[in-house]
Amino acid sequence: MPVREPPPERTDMTDAVTFRGVSRHFGPVRAVDEVDLEIRDGEFFAMLGPSGSGKTTCLRLIAGFEQPTAGHIEIFGERADGVPPYLRNVNTVFQSYALFPHMNVLDNVAFGLRVKGVSRAERLKAAEEALSMVELAGYGSRRAGELSGGQRQRVALARALINKPRVLLLDEPLGALDLKLREQMQEELRKLQRALGLTFVFVTHDQEEALSMADRVAVFAEGRIQQVGSAEDIYRRPASRFVADFVGSSNVIPADFAGVGAAGQWASLRPEDITLDPAGREAVVTGRYFHGRVVKLALDVGGQALTALVAPRDDLPDAGQATRIAWDPARVHLMERGS
């Protein structure tokens, strides 16, 4: 029987972006500190972290606006040391959109082709096409100032994509949009990324956005990567207390209390995994907060504070009342690091 060849390992492929021991220090501030990272070709990669965690600096290092103080970056296997932004086939959608105020929308979108010396007729035609791709056909003659936030965002996207970059960098692109529009844009960005097959690197501080959009997520804190993995991985199996807490606010509890490990170890228990169970452990409700789809219960279990998310019901215990709770030990994740 012929032995079937195993599918090629992903690591054999050239990664879109590779960080090798990259640091970027600003005086005493270690904005990015010895980061190793591989972003695969064609994936939607999210950099997630609180402000000041180094995720935007990482993006700027890829774009070439910053140079590493140590280590180096490879883009599709080529070292990018000292390469200025205009020689990198990488484009950015800026947080502030950075549309040129002295040009109309069409000229904004056509800018990348103009600097490459593409003829006027040709580049305007391409810009029209790019605009219709982001559903803004016919807006070409307007000024950036006459557009809404969501429309500006699309123009910035079209302007970046017209260059057909190998990697598209998005710096909190949805931060300034309201909730409805943000959800719509999330979906559209995802579709666009699939359709184009491009590598998207997306910076956000919104954990839900990162989890719902990205193939893989890197969680940043204090200039270092805390964990890299699929959304499911990060959420189900947080590597550290920080990740557990930052991504979807978890109950970080002693492992022996959770019933999964020895004393001194720490475990993560998601609030939605706690259920009200008449056969469970005794708990006192210390607070009850109605959130619409769910009700948040603050609980005290023998001195250990816990948060639970339960479905709204008429007979939920009120603050001050006693109840009984339980959780499936299989849903408890024992963490590598307690800090």
Binding site: P85, T92, S96, F100, K116, A160, N163
Partner: protein, 315 residues
Amino acid sequence: MSAISPAIFAPRSGPLSRAVDWVIRHPRMFVFLMVLPITLWLGIVYIGALIALLIQSFFSIDEYSGLIVHEFTLKTYAELFRSYNLDIIIRTVSMAAAVTLASAVIAFPIAYFAARYARGKWKALFYIGVMLPLWSSYLVKVYAWKLVLAKEGILNWLFAKLHLTWALEAALALPVVGGNSLSVSYLGTFIVFVYIWLPYMIIPVQAALERVPAPLLEAAADLGATPGQSFRMVLFPLAMPGIVAGSIFTFSLTLGDYIIPQIIGSSRLFIGQAVYTQQGTAGNIPLAAAFTVVPIVIMGLYLWGARKMGAFDAL
């Protein structure tokens, strides 16, 4: 138990407080009171005086008696087109244009440094450096320049030390702009004009550059623009309103100045000097007024042209 404080406090007493409270509740009145003094000043003192001047320019002077004939005529304006007067106008406008261009070219890098790189102490130093010349007497500076530019002056000495006397002599040998020494040539007038008016160009250009958001330049580079292209296509167009604002100063100040060309340069007249002599020694107020209208018209044309060319698009 403390007493319950009222939800709405009692109205303030005293006529002034009551008047203030009333004005605060009537925003239109507030705005009206604010703009009233400015409107009166601009309307009466400024525009009014200008209109009086314009009216003068439509009168003429009786050649025999030297008295002003208070009748509407364009005769005075026709006089502006006599070759002697036309030369004065062309000379002044050319000088103003050259001074403006040179100021813009020199001011831009200085303003760019101040706007993009200077921080804290260096920024303060920049402002002092730019403003300091404005705090000392204009006449002192001009006379100082006369000494600097004179044949026995420090500049000649410096050129000699650097073995560059030939270059200076070549420049002075140029027709029209040259002369015996820098202090009696148009070249000298030009240098002093540029020196004196430069701060008026630097400050608005610096303000315009400061308002250009840094991400715009990053976006340009990100999209593939080389530094030169970024400058031409993004930075320069966005700095244009500042350059135009600065050029309004340098251009109109040069058009109207009558002291610098009198102290430094050849003895040929500029518009300002013509106005000075016509309304002074010659007593020809209508012709002086007509000369004054020239810079106003030129500035009007200049602004109109700048607008047409899109200089204010970035505003």
